[in-house]
């Protein structure tokens, strides 16, 4: 699910190179980011056969190519997915209704305003008014400062240092070693005979 304002122009070559045997979609209005309240990529959501969320937004690295940067191993998450596939609703990784409701929160007023500012910026960018999109992207970033999707996407559409006075590397350095994208702690898989 490519969250790319540039659409197939930006995401297409990666999908083609991956030769996916799964469904790969392009989301140039970042509809999924907005509807699910996501703040970074990669984000994973587990949805059961009835269309019900059983694990909401969380870090979803499916290999270790960014390990030197994120300090995260992908193996525990992949193991959890395999456990869910094998054990379905009995998987220890499937969250209870009360756990889900504790993690899922209503959208804040600031996030709602950030979403429309970002959406307007995307629209202006897509009709060729990239410079005039910048104030709207900046406002979205101000309203939802922890949203890396809204920062990194906007920075990638032009010259981040020139247009926003910063860039991804500088912003990560400001974290002073704090996790850039912190995963939820996964339970130990049950031992099965």
């Amino acid at each position: 699910m490519a969250q790319d304002t540039g659409g197939a122009k930006d995401a297409g070559r990666w999908i083609t190179a991956a030769k996916p045997d799964y469904t790969a979609l392009v989301d140039e209005q970042q509809v999924v980011t907005q509807r699910y309240g996501m703040v970074n990529v990669p984000t994973g959501v587990w949805i059961d056969e009835r269309g019900r969320i059983v694990r909401p937004n969380e870090v979803a690295f499916i290999d270790d190519r960014f390990k030197s940067f994120t300090k995260m191993e992908s193996a525990p998450y992949i193991g959890a997915i395999r456990d869910w596939v094998q054990n379905g609703s009995k998987s220890v990784f499937v969250l209870s209704e009360s756990e889900l409701k504790a993690r899922l929160k209503p959208q804040s007023a600031d996030r709602a305003r950030a979403d429309v500012e970002f959406g307007l910026g995307e629209y202006l960018y897509q009709i060729g008014k990239g410079v005039e999109a910048i104030p709207h992207f900046q406002e979205a970033q101000r309203l939802d400062p922890d949203n890396w999707n809204y920062k990194r996407q906007a920075w990638a559409l032009g010259d981040a240092d020139r247009d926003y006075g910063t860039n991804f590397r500088k912003e990560v350095d400001k974290l002073n070693g704090k996790p850039y994208y912190e995963p939820h702690k996964l339970p130990e898989p049950k031992k099965r005979n």
Partner: protein, 163 residues
């Protein structure tokens, strides 16, 4: 001289009408629609009731402003804030309506674009049901896929980006 004066008044009248009635781009449900607007003011968006339905699928009904099963009654003492008739045309103040139903929106006055986000009830509705919000998006070949197409299967939804 008299004819010249009348012609001048006619031209001025036409110019005033043109300035009062112009177009804007309305982005609603992610779809852009050109609409006629009247009485342009920074915080109001008066559009024709036919454009309202064309751009948003909302219709004015006796019970309120409705789309599918959803209806919002208009406060009787403030009806003029939402609906007005000028000449033969009925106009609807979409910005005031959005404020009333707490729908987020933002305008770029310079480019004449108004962008409306989802209704709060639509955005947060899944928190009670835990049903994953549906979406319909294209693959690289332009074929559309909806989340609901995958009912009966487990879905691992993973987002990524080229940036």
């Amino acid at each position: 001289m008299k004819h010249f004066l009348i012609l001048t008044i006619l031209i001025t009248g036409a110019a005033t009408y043109a300035a009062a009635q112009t177009t804007r781009t309305l982005v609603y449900d992610g779809k852009a629609t050109e609409v006629s607007v009247s009485a342009v003011a920074a915080d109001h968006l008066w559009i024709t009731t036919s454009d309202l339905t064309r751009a948003t699928r909302f219709k004015i009904k006796p019970q309120g402003v409705c789309r599918d099963e959803l209806c919002f009654p208009l406060p009787k003492n403030r009806k003029a804030d939402f609906i007005t008739r000028r000449g033969t045309i009925d106009w609807f103040n979409l910005a005031e309506f959005a404020r009333m139903i707490k729908q987020p929106f933002v305008a770029d006055q310079k480019n004449g674009v108004w962008y409306f986000g989802p209704l709060a009830a639509e955005q947060n509705g899944y928190l009670a049901s835990l049903e994953a919000p549906n979406f319909t998006l294209p693959d690289l070949n332009g074929k559309l896929h909806s989340l609901t197409d995958f009912r009966g299967k487990k879905v691992l939804l993973v987002t990524w980006a080229s940036w």
